[in-house]
Symmetry: C2
Subunit: 411 residues, 2 copies
Amino acid sequence: MKKNVLIIGAGGVAQVVAHKCAQSNDILGDLHIASRTKAKCDAIIASVHEKKAMKVPGTFEGHAVDAMDSAAVAALIRKTGAEIVINVGSSFVNMTVMDACIETGAAYIDTAIHEDPAKICEIPPWYGNYEWKKRELCAEKGVTVILGAGFDPGVVNAYARFAADEYLDTVTAIDIVDINAGSHGRYFATNFDPEINFREFTGTVYSWQGGKWQENAMFEVGKEWDLPVVGKQKAYLSGHDEVHSLSANYPQADVRFWMGFGDHYINVFTVLKNLGLLSEQPVKTAEGLEVVPLKVVKAVLPDPASLAPNYTGKTCIGDYVKGLKDGKETEVFVYNVADHKEAYEEVGSQGISYTAGVPAVAAALMVAEGTWDVHRMANVEELPARPFLERLGKIGLPSRVIGPDGVDVAI
Amino acid sequence: MKKNVLIIGAGGVAQVVAHKCAQSNDILGDLHIASRTKAKCDAIIASVHEKKAMKVPGTFEGHAVDAMDSAAVAALIRKTGAEIVINVGSSFVNMTVMDACIETGAAYIDTAIHEDPAKICEIPPWYGNYEWKKRELCAEKGVTVILGAGFDPGVVNAYARFAADEYLDTVTAIDIVDINAGSHGRYFATNFDPEINFREFTGTVYSWQGGKWQENAMFEVGKEWDLPVVGKQKAYLSGHDEVHSLSANYPQADVRFWMGFGDHYINVFTVLKNLGLLSEQPVKTAEGLEVVPLKVVKAVLPDPASLAPNYTGKTCIGDYVKGLKDGKETEVFVYNVADHKEAYEEVGSQGISYTAGVPAVAAALMVAEGTWDVHRMANVEELPARPFLERLGKIGLPSRVIGPDGVDVAI
């Protein structure tokens, strides 16, 4: 049992996390949010109050913190009395925030893997480069660390575990499909931090097939999927965090991640990539200014949070999980459909931020209530899936499953 | 009669100008070249010596100068004893270099219109914003200033004058068509300074039609042309310097400039423009660094000079000039075809730099010999065309004309 939450970050996902924590502040206790710019935190808190999202009267305070400074984060954890830290800041701050949690004993939850600003697409499994190096330390100190508890990674890891638990004796393939069939009405925009978004697609695409890492280029392997609600959609084999933990937990299964892209997105991405504008390595202008091209691309693109008011349409994210049941080949599809406009009306964010943020709060509630307060480091598929998915359904993201019989039922 | 030449700039066009001046140093006298970075000047001089381009033994020295600093340029003119300045530096330095010429009495020749880094596509006629404001001062001081003496603007202005002089009583339309049918083998590159190249296409497209300025967007009006050697090519109504002087000298004629573009170029341009990456206005990165997106695009694109070794194919640039002769509608096409590989073999530059640089040297020779040493400011069409075109033919860019009878002859 833990309480009092410190949210790190003040972007679109943090906005969702803040609203969702407020809606459950009877369980979560005092709420705090911290980022480089305190004004952004205050704006999020103001929107929480505007929507009257606080379930019971309570504390919600904003703070300025440099999340790259572990000691500063630890001091803030102590000052606020936070026992749960939800890190939805940039992927570059995971390890410093996690270190602060290990030092103070606070539970740590994040939604994306750690990245080094200077490197792209490191050796698989990615978690082995940073997070898992702290696994023994967490166990030793009894600190709860839940890695990748957004939607993907996060809920899709739980979907794999859920299918394995309830439908299969052995898992032989996990195909995660992420389709955003929504429209933001802008010429081009990324749905979350462009820097992180593009970094996902500029390196080698790693998938786990036939018991080993398979390497492809982005947009090299495409496939049309026919999904509930959003229909037929083209998706491409992509590199993604969850492949790097699911492959360790289900080494006998093929693990692939498929991301939906329209031709227009691919064209813009291809132009930017081929020109070198997605590079994380600095270039020098004729005037001698050193600048990272990707950071300039980020600067000219719409702030993902700004897309929310006009975003319409739905997302469908789910896992096709294949395996054997009583010796027979079996397949199930576990999935969620979310609506951009409904997300905006509830929490002021678009659907991509909503699906990333709500699961982190479900995880925080599981930690607060003890079910997931495991006093060690865990990826989501290593924790009981059904209670998490049920909790998630209650706070806004219901899941469904199309069973081996083809019948589509709510979880 | 003037001699001793100071070249301002050390890019691909400057390389051509340097080689061509060297090939005529018996007439032009001492040669000097200056840019921000002296090493670039020295590299050009080394390539001149490597090709044994100096016609007679003589001086060729490199200098460092900030061409935005008019006093520094004037001091360098005095120090070198240059009586002719060929400015092929960035379009941002025209006025400071011209001021230095006016102050010292040196003749001034450039190949592109002055631009203010902070403004794009100013009120037409563009020359009225900067250069022509110094017209009276030049006349008063007797200083020779030849504006836009590259290929386009420059030779194409002379082509219009040539057609008017030799084939027509009245000019009714001047359509300048610029086709680069060459291939550099890179994913994408601009043929000259990307900053200047893109700036040409991001603003309003001005053409002079029916006695007034017509405004269009870039790529709004396209037309297929069937040209000698390069064949059928699609070109688009574009904004360009020469339209702004030819319209003043031939106000009764429609004056249009058509630039050839492939679909790939248009796609890359469209993506960059729509994203805001071609903006000359600074943006701020998340880290607070102020940076001009266009300068970053320039930094990641290939240096135009680097394209030269592998550039193959030909350019065709010419003027369709229509008008009346003895009351009858008449049309001629005056043009040049240049070859990228031949240009590289001769002067180490690609064809676009070659066609821009050689005419400036022809103009310098005309000034040195007196024919164009007019002691006032002039656009190229205000000066005798035939001797210029003949001079140009002798130093590497022969022109041809398809007459009213359809017969194609050398000029």
